[in-house]
Amino acid sequence: MNLNQFISYIAQGTIYTVGVTLIALPAGLLIGTILALLYVYGGKVTGRLMNLYSTIFRGIPPLVLLFILFFAVSKGINLSAFWAGSLSLGIVSSAYQMEIVRGALLAVSGDQMKAARAIGLSRLQAIRYVVLPQAVRLAIPPWSNEVAIVIKDSSLVYALGVPEILRRAQLIAASSQQYLLAYLSAALIYFLLVFLTTRLLNRLENKLAIPANP
């Protein structure tokens, strides 16, 4: 087996890595943002519930949730390994993304909310037109961190047999005995994915930056 074949075999797993990430990340963002809004603006009881959600899912290792969803829950609904993996990672990520968005909302809120209400905007309008646009900008740096984590955590679906980068590296390492080369190749691919994505988000952050904002 030549080096080209070797690396290309592992690289074919990228589609699963990217696939899992592209499901888990937006799902986590959507759920996380909604929950963060409820947390910050939803009153005490809702706030506690959201806090509970966050505590539970940040407290469970993604791999454990993955096993629960795949081996136990999906007995009833027939969830494939790919979907079980993507959804578990999405759920865990939603708890972290909720905290990111919540932090950003709180950092903007308060005074900006007061000023918005003072000109007659309703609470919802104030959130939509004043708080969120600024919170999004604040959230990008910590969010890009979370993106990197989800990309790397997507490797966990290997445990369910999804033939992503890590699993392919294991298989080819076993058959070729080239352990170092196999895992270095996998590491390189993960690194490139994370590097390029964070670069992209960096650019987005600069593009959205508010001029001369203190």
């Binding site: 005074d111 900006q112 000109i119 904002n213």
Partner: protein, 255 residues
């Protein structure tokens, strides 16, 4: 007797056991500029926040024209449209340009078309002398300019009354003048204004009435002449003497 725009009756605000003010009565007449003075922690700013319902009073009533805005079924968003508020720390929307700051209420609250809102917002910026800064973000403006945009943002909603909460206390001394100048012009144009400030020069020159508040009570109110030259209470005299000394000095330092 001119008709009051704003009537405050027996107002009380407390946080837990801590009473900010109580038994507070005040009328503000159309076109009048009232300056509220007093030591800090007296409840002046809380009073302003109660008037535009950013804080709810515990007791008493406030009427805006013929509407009791403290009543339960009163739409507070609607009330706030008619009461302009200018904050000590400007509180401009940091992600919007000066124009965007002034326009937001017009498009989202008054539901004006984008073009109409832009035209009106530019007129308001013109009024505070900042038409040329329309495209600047808050971070690109000086404090004085930011506060003037804040005033334009409030004015754009065509309020019945403007509340100023220490509008110049966060400014460097050399930037205070431009803001006071805008306020002076507004008063002259007949805007009804309720101003909390330590600027005694402004109070003396522009106010129709000065209200001296201390420890949650209105100690004394009267025309600038009465207050500065013939105060009834020794407390008033003492405070005015101190504050003039303090702020007068500060201005000399700056000059």
């Amino acid at each position: 007797m001119p008709k009051p725009i704003l009537t405050i009756k027996n107002l009380r605000k407390s946080y837990g056991d801590h009473v900010i003010f109580e038994h507070l009565d005040l009328d503000v007449n159309e076109g009048e500029t009232i300056v509220i003075i007093g030591p800090s922690g007296t409840g002046k700013s809380t009073l302003l926040r109660c008037i535009n319902l950013l804080t709810r009073p515990n007791e008493g009533q406030i009427w805006l024209d013929d509407t009791e805005i403290t009543s339960k079924n009163c739409n507070e968003d609607l009330v706030r449209q008619h009461i302009g508020m200018v904050f000590q720390n400007f509180l401009l929307f940091n992600h919007l340009t000066a124009l965007g700051n002034v326009k937001l209420g017009l498009t989202r609250v008054k539901k004006m078309s984008d073009q109409a809102a832009t035209e009106k917002a530019l007129r308001e910026l013109e009024r505070v002398g900042l038409a040329d800064k329309a495209g600047h973000y808050p971070g690109q403006l000086s404090g004085g300019q930011q506060q003037r945009v804040g005033i334009a943002r409030a004015l754009a909603m065509d309020p019945r009354i403007m509340l100023f909460d220490e509008p110049t206390s966060a400014l460097d001394p050399e930037l205070i003048g431009e803001v006071l100048e805008v306020m002076r012009k507004l008063a002259k144009d007949g805007m009804t204004m309720l101003v909390v400030t330590h600027e005694m020069g402004f109070a003396r020159e522009v106010a129709d009435r000065i209200v001296f508040m201390e420890k949650g009570y209105i100690v004394e109110e009267g025309s600038p002449n009465e207050m500065f030259n013939h105060p009834k209470f020794p407390r008033t005299r003492e405070f005015l003497w101190k504050i003039t000394e303090l702020y007068g000095k500060k201005k000399e330092d700056a000059a």
